[in-house]
Amino acid sequence: MIYEVFRQEREGQPFQHGGSLDAPNLAFAEAYARELYGRRDESFALWIVPREAVDEVRDPYVADVFDRDYRRVDGYSLKVKLKEARERAGTAGAGHAAPLQGGP
């Protein structure tokens, strides 16, 4: 039976997938996981999950039908907006601090 092992490197950190192992039952899986992912003090804690208990979702992307770029953090370009604002203020190319200190 295949088990997936998740490692928490330090207390409080998120668990991340470490790898998988083959074991006849959970007791063996635990012993082997300790050996493979814990022996060098590289993990604070482990999650050991039978692979069949993991619900895999394939192709989870739902295509945008309408243009809703603004809902995404990458949909709003600060760089472009800032350039436009500087041009309006007549301070293009004057450096980052210019619009704050010396206005028109």
């Binding site: 006849p24 012993a31 050996e35």
Partner: protein
């Protein structure tokens, strides 16, 4: 604690560790290969620690005690000398019986009057806890298998011989078996010399070299 008694302990751990290491690369599946090899390695580490204590009393060093003696000078129990590859049932039967017996011995050493011995026993026990967990889980898994039960029957007199006479009743209780005539420490099986020849081969190839 006498050097003789320290050597008995160290030799048991070295020879058993060496025997278990024979499974490296050929264990029944990969995860077990890693786990059993790691157990073999920690047994050899424990041997080293006991040899170092003995070496202080004898005015020598751990390597010399491990590799420069003749086969008949080793103090290990015949139990650890037996070669079982490729029989996994016998291997696990010995692993489980040895770890169960060793737990009784370590427990006694943890209460030794010698603080160095007690401290080392306590350190070793922390790693042995993992060995016992591994041995117990395998014994549980194979308990109903005829080959495993047969192997435990065959090895029981050998397992008793690992312990001092006053510790044997406890082993009988833990394992749930009646006392039988033990295979005592002192004589060696025919299997020790070929093991010794291989184990010391490199060291003997350049006598006195500093590695």
């Amino acid at each position: 604690m006498s050097a003789e008694a320290l050597l008995a302990l160290a030799d048991d751990e070295l020879i058993l560790g060496w025997r278990n290491s024979e499974w490296t690369g050929i264990a029944p599946f990969l995860e077990e290969d890693v786990a059993f090899s790691s157990i073999a390695q920690t047994e050899i580490g424990h041997a080293r620690a006991w040899y170092e204590l003995a070496a202080k009393e004898l005015g020598t060093n751990a390597d010399s005690l491990a590799f420069d003696r003749e086969p008949d000078e080793y103090r290990c129990a015949p139990f650890v000398e037996l070669r079982f590859v490729p029989d996994w049932a016998q291997t696990i039967a010995r692993h489980w019986l040895y770890e169960t017996a060793d737990a009784i011995r370590i427990q006694a050493l943890m209460h030794s009057d010698d603080p160095e011995v007690a401290g080392l026993a306590e350190k070793i026990d922390r790693e042995e806890a993992y060995h016992r967990m591994h041995a117990d889980m395998w014994a549980d898994r194979l308990r109903e298998e005829a080959r495993f039960r047969g192997a435990v029957d065959d090895l029981w007199p050998y397992a008793l011989g690992v312990l001092e006479p006053d510790q044997r009743d406890r082993l009988c209780n833990v394992v749930g078996r009646a006392a039988v005539e033990p295979v005592e420490r002192g004589a060696h099986t025919e299997e020790l010399t070929p093991l010794w020849e291989e184990m010391t081969m490199v060291r003997r190839s350049v006598p006195g070299a500093s590695w």
